[in-house]
Symmetry: C2
């Protein structure tokens, strides 16, 4: 039988010395009581008049409290009837399963992970606060599907000065990241009848899956120590490349090859999709500029804050050839994937202040130290293995005797709680280049990194050298 609760059953405490208003205090206590099951469904509460008298507050306070709790679905209020507790909570979040935990993980050395512990929370919060204070109402409502104009101006400035991109805000679109941009471009080109896209062999397998999902037939092009070989692209209508720090091999496209690639695109009347994913981090000299400014009418330049700032922000950009701007904007509108306007406002402020550049500069030093540690440890512990792709980015390649040897080490490392990837995972079926482990150093501070590399080296040394044994 449901109780008729009296004021004394409610155990409400009003503390006038606390900064929170009395109504807020009462509301929180009653919400907690209902959520926790202390008041059950169907139980009746005292009237506003009675409860106000009993705990010594004005009746208006209780009216507000009951009103808020009714609005949240915890109470049912009807004229002339006693307020009644509703069966509001239909499941218990505490007992709901969290997302699958996966195997025990000690060290994550996967190649794409940046450090997020150094995320500049204070500076970012300042940008959130300032941008929200300055925002016009129009900024909070439906924005341009191509992105907020002020952010497009700031990003165009940034790409122009930091990456040498010929960027104008009219042709700079805001995306949810590089892969999102690839998804949009794949669909647009497929709709134009341009349905074959070449990818470097090896290249990130997720990019290929997304292009294929977007209607593209995906074909391989060879990569050697000077980068992609334009003579192997064939008759694809577009090629997707990562020239500044090829993923996963880490090679940089040489100037001669850059020229040859542009010539290929002009002759074939084809597009170049330039994925500038981590080029800001170059350690041996100034970052290599983007390819885009050699042929801005042919190159689709994309980048994001995923490696440089925080993957969770889901904020990136694409600088498009004039001929693609309208179609890609339309594709954005039709897939209704727009990027948070609030984040756009904050990031525009953050860029404008120079805080993004400051963060990059700081992170370049952090990553350089980690890279130096990894390279020197690998050279000392595994002198018979070449270490490649060390000039830039967030990972190095440890060459292995064969794909089977790399896979065996990867599997054993995972058993031991250390995640790495292999070149083989990212290559097409016919890949014949060097095998290797991809070792990311972005996400681990130096002491953990050292322990992880020492453990990994032990596994590599103990691994059978003969492929047939390892396979």
């Amino acid at each position: 039988v449901p109780r008729n609760l009296q004021a004394r059953d409610l155990l409400l405490l009003v503390d006038r010395s606390r900064p929170a208003p009395v109504s807020r205090q009462l509301e929180e206590q009653m919400r907690c009581a209902i959520q926790s099951g202390a008041f059950a469904a169907g139980e009746q509460l005292p009237s506003t008049r009675v409860l106000a008298q009993d705990i010594g507050v004005s009746r208006g306070v209780i009216v507000r409290v009951y009103g808020q709790l009714a609005a949240e679905g915890y109470l049912s209020l009807r004229q002339g009837a006693a307020p009644t507790v509703r069966a509001a909570v239909r499941f218990d979040a505490k007992t709901a399963p969290p997302p699958s935990a996966g195997p025990r993980l000690l060290y994550n050395l996967r190649p794409h992970l940046p450090e997020v512990a150094t995320f500049p929370r204070r500076a970012w919060l300042r940008s959130v606060r300032e941008s929200l204070e300055q925002a016009r109402s129009a900024d909070l409502t439906y924005g341009d599907e191509a992105g907020l104009w002020d952010l497009r101006v700031e990003v165009a400035h940034y790409l122009s000065r930091a990456r040498g991109v010929l960027a104008r805000p009219e042709r700079t679109l805001i995306t949810a990241g590089s892969t999102h941009a690839l998804s949009l471009v794949s669909r647009v080109l497929a709709r134009r009848g341009q349905e074959t896209m070449a990818f470097e062999n090896p290249s990130h397998h997720i990019l290929r899956a997304v292009a294929s999902h977007g209607g593209q037939a995906v074909v391989p092009a060879a990569v050697d120590e000077r980068g992609i070989r334009p003579d192997t692209i064939g008759d694809a209508a577009a090629v997707c490349i990562s020239p500044a720090h090829q993923f996963p091999t880490g090679v940089a496209l040489t100037p001669e090859r850059r020229t040859a690639l542009i010539e290929w695109a002009q002759e074939a009347d084809a597009w170049i999709f330039e994925d500038d994913y981590d080029a800001e981090f170059r350690y041996d000299r100034a970052p290599i500029g983007a390819l885009q400014d050699l042929a801005p009418e042919r190159v689709i330049y994309v980048g994001s804050t995923g490696k440089t700032f925080a993957p969770g922000l889901r904020l990136g950009w694409a600088v498009l050839p004039p001929d693609l701007v309208d179609d890609v904007s339309q594709e954005l509108l039709n897939s209704m994937l727009h990027v948070s306007g609030f984040d756009q406002l904050a990031f525009a402020n953050f860029l404008h202040r120079g805080d993004f550049d400051r963060h990059l500069r700081r992170m370049r030093q952090v990553y350089r130290a980690r890279r130096n540690l990894v390279v020197s440890l690998l050279r000392a512990l595994l002198p018979q293995h070449r270490v490649r792709g060390i000039a830039a980015g967030l990972h190095v390649v440890l060459e292995m005797a064969s794909p089977a040897a790399a896979a065996a080490v990867q599997a054993e490392a995972e058993e031991a709680g250390t995640l790495v990837e292999t070149i083989e995972q990212h290559s097409f079926a016919d890949y014949a280049g060097p095998a290797g482990l991809l070792i990311g150093y972005g996400g681990l501070p130096e002491p953990s990194l050292e322990a992880a590399i020492r453990g990994l080296a032990k596994i590599v040394r103990a691994a059978p050298v003969d492929d047939r044994q390892a396979a």
Copy 2:
């Protein structure tokens, strides 16, 4: 000839009473000077030693300033050479065209616009700050494509208590809004061979365009004063409805029709896509609960913060039947459209505090007053026209004699700077129901609203009554 700039040319001012560090002050002044063109490309700056001496700061300060400006691309620094200003800014944002301004707009009465001037900036900032302070590093990196677990729990709670949805966090996905959810579901169903989706006639034309873009053949189903007629759906594999406040007619689906619709779905083995777009705002009584809890295994329930909070946030949710969870999550992964993790963290905090419910409650009062004003003005000024769909949402329907009469008023109103929509704009070609103007009252405060409605009524009264004249 490029100048060799001396310290005195730089006009640098160091104010030690300001809270900003000296290096930050100098950096800002020099950045401004280069951005504004006061220092031109190729001009040389004094060495760190000379400049430090001249303005009386330590040399380390100038080293930091030059370093930051070089990192931002404004300066070129080489060993043994004087620091040189780079041609960094390749375009002048001041002269770049802003996005097209469109015609002179006085009053926007389009039906979907919420009020954003009342956006609770202070409460939202508190949630941003708190959630960022409490965030684990893992929260800032790549998250679950289905959304952050904590937010899925909070949203499931909210939908359960406020909308009567049978929501469990495992089946609750975070999206960029309702239309984004429709885009995902359209693609998933098309891939399963379920390629026909019925839409209410009339219904929002953008929804139909997105479904069609996602691979669905779009067919009409009739709507009368009791809502959608299940007997007119035909053999579609899914139907998209807005039962709580049908868009655009504003009718609510009656209990009998709800039952009939569920029966249809069960017999036809079909899906119901429930777009609960503005049901939180009901003025005559408590909000009507969602349809979803009648058949959670058949109903795809979607909602968003677009009408209730701020469209710019681009944050919504979908509660899916168990059979669709994996496929829609995979579609999210493959289209790489994830929602900002930062916004997710903040919104989870905001929901948890009850701030979202508080905001809804406040806005319900704001909108009720605006609705009452619009309805009483229209009834007084245009007594010969029925006003419909007034029980909920953010717009009313003013019945017109014919589609042509509605279109003529819309065109004349636009000339005068007032935007409205018509039922005809949202109907299929064979629509034969009542014609009407859609008048949104969400985005205008009462004085502007009154002026807008008075102006509109004048145009309606002056419009020719005969269709043939108006067409």
